[in-house]
Symmetry: C2
Subunit: 464 residues, 2 copies
């Protein structure tokens, strides 16, 4: 049977300020109506069933992931949570381990959750060919024919066609790290070089055999994981290592199938700009933009502000309510550095958006001032916040859309649109959306201390 292993643990910090630590790239709708993650598992339709689709991610993303898979038929139990990121070898190894327990003959299709692919038919054909080759005990990687001298990708050099295979399958001479521009130009001319896409197809047991051989310590630790409950205990002891570095560079069983479709890992704003429709002057916008004599300007906005430019060339402008980035298009790889600086400076713009997601919905801080804070709270249908109490703040709630069920000091009442309630300091309370439509309330907090950590939870649907 075929199984998908979708690697959804990254942050994609080069897409800051759109991506944040708590809202990573794979969950973003960068192109079209689906998130990159949703596109990833939808792309496998007809090859892997939703029941056989596994997603491995960081445990802080659990509730967001639940939202993302809603309606796609993927069982909640197929979400595998890492307590912390350990790079690809442990993640894939863990999934291989858990899946091979369910199905000894499982074939895994390992896909990063945050790539972009165009040409679905050819993608599926390549995957099918890869499955066929994997059944002959090969570790198959999908190679991308370079169309430019990219320095952002690792390369794979092929040796020769594997004769035993029906479709085009090549043996691999070596894996090469991201090259400088000169080398990249040489690779581009040489037909034996491919980009390393990070898409792998192999049998679970063959892969685990190679882990045993080349990463024996990892194998031993994975072997001690008898059920998902053991992960938390074992994981901290596992060393971070990529599957490329740990397995692919050593294994003798590697084969490459050339991709016949458009692929990008969407590694940066500029990579995204490459695939989006442009106007006559090469400008891109997803929002309210006015360009005067500008060329190659890419405006991405999550606010609803007007973005205007005059005489600007080859620039990415990424606009969010709490952070703006203006970046030369040749420097979009360096956004990662900027994010590192934000971390060092102990800021918060790299962590969360002004609109913060919660398992029950989201809230946006509209304004803060001395002694007050104004929030717009959106509560998803049928969800409720914890039963809670604040030491230092009182809250005024005005329902502006939907209906709220409130519990105050044990008393339940229903608050309709255009009605308000008051929660004094120290009063136990709970907010709930009893309807099937979203609930919106404006919360005005008053008090001397208004931080999120002034909360005492008595009951919570999300085990917080």
């Amino acid at each position: 049977m075929n199984y998908a292993v979708i690697l959804a643990g990254g942050v994609g910090s080069r897409f800051w300020p759109f991506s944040r630590e708590l809202e990573p790239k794979q969950f973003m709708r960068l192109i079209g109506e689906e998130s990159l993650l949703q596109s990833t598992f939808k792309r496998l339709k007809g090859i892997v069933t939703p029941k056989n689709t596994f997603i491995i991610t960081n445990d802080i993303y659990f509730y967001e992931l639940l939202n993302q898979i809603k309606g796609y038929g993927i069982p909640e139990g197929n979400i595998i949570l890492e307590p912390e990121g350990k790079n690809t070898a442990p993640a894939i190894g863990l999934c291989a381990k858990l899946i091979s327990k369910l199905d000894k003959n499982a074939t895994l299709i390992v896909l990063p959750a945050d790539h972009y692919i165009k040409g679905l038919f050819n993608f599926k054909r390549a995957i099918k060919n890869a499955i066929e080759a994997a059944r002959n005990d090969l570790l198959v990687t999908i190679g991308i024919k370079p169309n430019k001298p990219s320095t952002a990708y690792g390369y794979i050099k092929i040796k020769s066609k594997v004769k035993s295979q029906k479709s085009k399958v090549y043996s691999v001479e070596k894996f090469l790290e991201k090259p400088g521009l000169d080398k990249a130009k040489k690779y581009l001319k040489d037909k034996s070089f491919f980009w390393n896409s990070g898409m792998f197809i192999w049998k679970a047991d063959i892969f685990l055999g190679e882990v045993k051989k080349y990463l024996p310590d990892l194998f031993k630790r994975l072997d001690s994981i008898k059920s998902v409950n053991d992960i938390k205990k074992i994981w901290p002891k596992i060393k971070s290592i990529s599957v490329d570095y740990g397995i692919m560079e050593h294994s003798k069983k590697i084969a490459l199938i050339p991709a016949n479709f458009y692929w990008t890992d969407l590694g940066s704003w500029d990579a995204l700009a490459e695939i989006l429709p442009k106007d006559k002057k090469g400008n891109i916008t997803n929002s309210d933009t006015l360009n005067v004599d500008s060329q190659g300007v890419c405006v991405f906005s999550r606010g609803n502000r007007l973005v205007s430019t005059i005489g600007v060339n080859n620039m990415v402008i990424a606009d969010t309510p709490d952070a703006l980035l203006v970046c030369d298009r040749n420097r979009t790889q360096d956004v990662k550095q900027l994010v590192e600086r934000l971390k060092t400076l102990k800021r918060k713009e790299h962590q969360v958006h002004l609109t913060e997601r919660r398992p029950w919905g989201s809230f946006t801080v509209l304004q803060e001032g001395p002694g007050f804070k104004i929030k717009l709270i959106e509560l998803a249908p049928k969800k409720r916040l914890s039963l809670q109490r604040h030491k230092n703040r009182a809250e005024h709630w005005v329902v502006v859309s939907g209906m709220a069920k409130t519990t105050r000091a044990g008393k339940v009442s229903f608050v309709r649109s255009n009605e308000s309630v008051y929660i004094p300091k120290g009063r136990k309370h709970r907010l709930e959306n009893p309807l099937r439509i979203p609930l919106k309330i404006v919360e005005v907090q008053t008090g001397a201390y208004l931080e999120e950590d002034d909360i005492e939870r008595f009951e919570d649907d999300f085990k917080r």
Copy 2:
């Protein structure tokens, strides 16, 4: 006696998005704690008394102007309101007319409200010399020695020193329009060329004599203005014309006094950038900014967002809550064009800020959604809104700072910080700040129609 005539009717649209039609440049605190207007009349201390300081502006700016002159001792009656802008000749003519009625021997110091001057001592000396020359019936203009080949200013070519004068006073050969770069370079080398600063000193009656001679139609119309009440009627018939074009280019009485101080008309973002302190890489910021490998970037922010740049050169970034401008520093003159486009597109970003000023204070729309609108209202000490009623909306007020006096259906109550009141649709109500500290309230409006024009006013302190 000396009188100041401060021309405060412009918009300064090249400072968009900071300047807006209803919040023009002269009222902005671009440099330091005072607005450009306030600096303008403070600069005259010791030369003109506040009682002799007149300000002419557009009547839509009346309440803002009242705020601006508060505490400076300038009588409210010295604000002269134009129903519409007619350029400088009519504005100065009108002031000359009204002031000469008060004082036949008045000497006028005519100053634009939105320029920047450094070197107060030399400024005052120049003005005093100019007054002396003006008392000999000359129309004196202050000329600025060019320090670069500017194409943004008009030029004045001098002829020779006027012998009868003690200080350096020159007769003028001609006025020249803004030149191209080649001409400007020639002018820079030739010591007989000066920038036209738009600062003029002359006796009111001498000036009116020249108006009679060179702009007889304007003179006739001004003559029919017997009191400020006549302005509204006469003004629409007056033709727009600048004092340079209408008088200075023709009069035989022109004299020039060279300025010995730093002057700029702050014609654009780049002109502002020139005078502000820079870091080692020539970057300027007034706000929360993170520059990586950027040079000559000028960040001006009115929001409280992080502005970050990577590899950006010589760019102005002007950030406000509802509009962002990214503009090549060599193109800042073209901001005016952009504003024209906004007008053509019937947008509102050129008219008002998200925080809108009112005679009683200001309000900010924090969020709008279907059926609701959230505002933060700031009411100045001792001010009150009109007694009013809304057909289509209910309002929830939560006081977050200060104390409110509310009148609802004739009943007065005092609402303290952290208390709230509700105003149902159709109820007559009034909001007042009874204290000497500002009052802040959060207003949540609900209803199907939430525009500003849903207001029926019964009493208003501001004659609206």
